[in-house]
């Protein structure tokens, strides 16, 4: 079975600082996708960044980057120059190669402090 674990239920960061959210997963698959989704108070689920497991290069999207460690099954999200609008719930997710199945972690609530 696939599992996704986010061990930090809540985090906070000062505006303009950098924060890292952790995520680990468990799978026997060799090819898969990993994602970070953001859910602001408006509760819309917004894709932040995605990583393909066969790519060694870490994905980056503007201020968001990941540290993908395939052997360790770790997929952390780094947010640089944190902004107030980054305050949200962040979900790590895993998609395996069969079955149209997504697996979500329990989320990390991030608060950016002015």
């Amino acid at each position: 079975a696939q599992t996704v674990t986010q061990s930090q239920p809540e985090m906070s960061v000062q505006e303009a600082e950098t924060v890292t959210l952790s995520c680990t997963y468990d799978t026997s698959e060799s090819n898969y996708y990993l994602f970070w989704y953001k859910q602001p108070p408006s509760r819309q689920m917004i894709l932040v960044i995605r990583q393909e497991a066969y790519k060694q290069q870490n994905a980056t999207e503007n201020r968001f980057s990941v540290n993908f460690q395939k052997a360790a099954k770790s997929f952390s999200l780094k947010i640089s120059d944190s902004q107030l609008g980054d305050t949200a719930m962040y979900f790590c997710a895993f998609s395996k190669n069969t079955g149209n199945q997504f697996y979500f972690g329990t989320g990390t609530s991030l608060t950016v402090i002015p």
Binding site: Y37, Q44, R50, F91, G99, N100, Q101, T106
Partner: protein, 115 residues
């Protein structure tokens, strides 16, 4: 243009009633999903349809019945609503590439409150 839309955004109803939530995607995706997000924010998949065929049916009471008239629509019908059904329900869609399920695009969510 809205990619994945859900109606209604809020739904307040009495216990025992039957209600429906509609979902439509204009992305041309083959797969659509329904998720339930409980009060602790935990997202749990309920159903997945691929080209109008049921692919995933997690342990969900029979009172919940998805209906997919075409691959752009996946509606959720709930019969005999119970207090525990109160939650936010998300519709999502994705395009599969070579068997891999890529990015899911989510609707805005429907907050269901059962009184």
């Amino acid at each position: 243009d809205t990619a994945v839309s859900q109606t209604p955004k809020y739904l307040v109803t009495q216990m025992g009633n039957d209600k429906s939530i509609k979902c439509e995607q204009n992305l041309g995706h083959d797969t659509m999903y329904w998720y339930k997000q409980d009060s602790k924010k935990f997202l749990k998949i309920m159903f997945s349809y691929n080209n109008k065929e049921l692919i995933i049916n997690e342990t969900v009471p029979n009172r919940f019945s998805p209906k997919s008239p075409d691959k752009a629509h996946l509606n959720l019908h709930i019969n005999s609503l119970e207090l525990g059904d109160s939650a936010v329900y998300f519709c999502a869609s994705s395009q599969d590439f070579k068997g891999l399920t890529d990015t899911q695009y989510f609707g805005p969510g429907t907050r269901l409150t059962v009184l």
